[in-house]
Amino acid sequence: MIESLFFGILYFAAWICSHALLWRLGSSIVTIFAFAFCPVLLATLGLLSAEFHLGTDWRVLIAGSAMLGSLVWLTLHPRPLRVTDLPWLVGGTLCSGAIALFSTLNDFYYLSTDGFTYLMLGTAIGEHGGMLPVVRTELLDRGILPVLLQAFAKGAGQDYFVAQGPLAALGLTLSWCALTSRFLGKPRWAPLAVGSVFLLTTPLVILQASTIHTNLMTAIFFLWYWGSVWRFVDENETQWLNAAVIALLGILFCRPEAPLIVGLFLGLTLALPLPSVRPVLPRVFAFSILLVGWFLWFGAFFQARFDPILTPSRLALSLAPIFLLIPIFVWRSRNEERAGFTRRMALLVFAAAACLFAFVVFKRPMVVYSSAICVQLNLGLTGRWGYSIWGLLLVAGLTAFLPRWKWQQSAQLVMVTYVLLVFSLLLFRPQYRPSAFDTANRMWLHLFPIALLLIAVRVGLTPKKNQAS
């Protein structure tokens, strides 16, 4: 019961913050984005309470949520709440609370190795009311979000929180539906219904909904980032950029390789025909400072352990692309109409990713080779993908005969460069292994909704027979 109350209150505060940031995008987008905002809010408050030794009692979270939500709302002076907004707010809050209650009553959590570690670290924070140096060091290699969540579970007198996974699965499906229908621009129910069923019946999605991991949430943030950036170009509505920045923040809270992902995403964003770079620039600048501050803060407590993945030198190397991109953003903001820039930028990012991958192949050929075999094994039953990946590949062949989508090339570039990035991580880490819990296998999940979005939108763009004639 306490779990549903916890998540209900968290959602309520997340909705208020989402409304303050995205109110011009409509109540449905605000309501669904709040599911993505929940983890960001939780991590922000959890981090503050752990750092300032406020404890991880769930009442701290309630008070913090109320304060932060009010602060954001009052600072940004959005459109006042209307009576028509209330059903969305109440409906979303009740929905998140009900899912949390259902998850608690039907505890089906799977015990994974990462889950052990997250529980262990969360317990350590919950016990000490703050972060031990060893915990902070461990967090350099892991997403902080589930750790903080489990720390709050400790403060709420629970063993662990189980609602995170199911809520993430729900949030992912709703986010996918909201963005797909926004891109379609007209009610086309079949692609939305089939895509949702396909997403929710994928075994790995179900498995991730029942483990303490970060991948479903990362998939939500990937989807919101690219959905928001593409919508910004389509609509020239700057509030979509707010959603994109929150999504980047979410990725930072979820993934240790966030600097590389952010660098890749910012580079690929520059390859889009942005209507204006001026609203983008301050957001990129602010986020980059936050990113560096974040890792300096954590890196300051770095302790050499047995096999750390993210050493200070590697971290510096990962952050370098972002600082190379900032001057390009500045240059681009002053040269809005330069022809051929986006195409050259896309080529540059692809070439950089390909060169990095080639370097890794040259440096660790056997590791890359073995990993590729493991990845291939994982794409079927071993990796708990069931028939989803092969189904998608089969369908991708068919989509050659479907109408082209405006963002098709951009989406394909995101997917290809991300795959190269996942393999490039082998420079820093042990090889991938044949298992559903393998890092690379779980990282494909981040791209899965984007691939499905691409297919569903192209199907939805097919004109009806009477319209075609």
């Binding site: 505890d107 089906f108 959590y109 799977y110 015990l111 190795t113 052990f116 570690t117 529980l119 262990m120 317990t123 031990l132 060893v134 915990v135 400790k154 063993d159 662990y160 079949a190 692609p191 089939v194 895509g195 069923v197 396909f198 019946t201 994928t202 075994p203 179900i206 498995l207 029942s210 352990r305 047995f306 096999d307 056997m366 590791v367 073995s370 075999i373 493991c374 039953l381 069931g386 028939y387 989803s388 092969w390 189904g391 089969l394 369908v395 068919l398 989509t399 479907l402 042990p430 090889q431 292994r433 044949p434 298992s435 297919i455 199907v459 939805g460 097919t462 004109p463 009806k464 027979k465």
Partner: protein, 210 residues
């Protein structure tokens, strides 16, 4: 008559549900193709078909296997186990690891490659747990296939494996009893480690006899 028998044989060749499924596919395709064209209809039906096949895998997912769930009852609560773990003040403990259960429950149907990944996890935990033993014998986790440890696990007896890990002071023994899933949270010089009780048959101070 012969034609009738052939038709009957064809009809009986598939389970009745297959025929319903085939009918649903044809009906669905016809319906969807009216709005989304032949290719769009084919794409949607293929995705639905993959979803249906995924659902048919439900029994192989094993996510509901009770032994690997985190059980919710007072005795298995983390608080209870933390209290138990804290009683183990002496960091020099000998752990009798139930390796068969570790292998069997964590990865059902483990093969040579998954054995290796188990070794990888085991190694990480052991290093966390007994980090003070700087001479821990650990193979670098570089290659899964053909890995030395994996070969050791698949080909050699448990005695060999015990010898390989002897410097870690971990003694592996045959499983003798089944225990419910519980956690031990042990504290050592490096911090905390959390292990399910099912991996252990006994945890006792250094020097104590089993």
């Amino acid at each position: 008559m012969a034609q009738h028998d052939t038709l009957r044989a064809v009809l009986l060749a598939g389970h009745w549900s297959h025929w319903i499924g085939a009918g649903a596919v044809i009906a669905g395709f016809t319906l969807l193709a009216r709005s989304y064209g032949a290719v769009g209809g084919a794409v949607l039906v293929t995705l639905l078909w993959a979803a249906w096949l995924n659902l048919s895998l439900w029994n192989t997912w094993n996510i509901l296997e009770p032994e690997i769930q985190i059980l919710r009852n007072p005795e298995s609560s983390l608080d209870y186990q933390i209290r138990r773990g804290r009683q183990l003040d002496d960091p020099f403990v000998t752990l009798d690891l139930d390796f068969h259960r570790f292998m069997g429950t964590h990865y059902a149907g483990s093969s040579i490659v998954t054995s290796d990944s188990n070794v990888y996890f085991l190694r990480r935990y052991l290093v966390h747990l007994i980090g003070k033993f700087t001479d821990v014998v650990v193979q670098p986790y570089e290659s899964t296939i053909g890995h030395k440890e994996a070969q050791l696990l698949s080909n050699a007896s448990h005695v060999d494996f015990v010898n390989a890990w002897s410097k870690t002071r971990i003694r592996l023994i045959e499983p003798s009893r089944r225990v419910p899933t519980r956690f031990f949270i042990l504290k050592d010089a490096e911090g905390f480690v959390l292990l399910p009780e099912q991996w252990f048959l006994a945890v006792r101070p250094e020097g104590a006899k089993p």
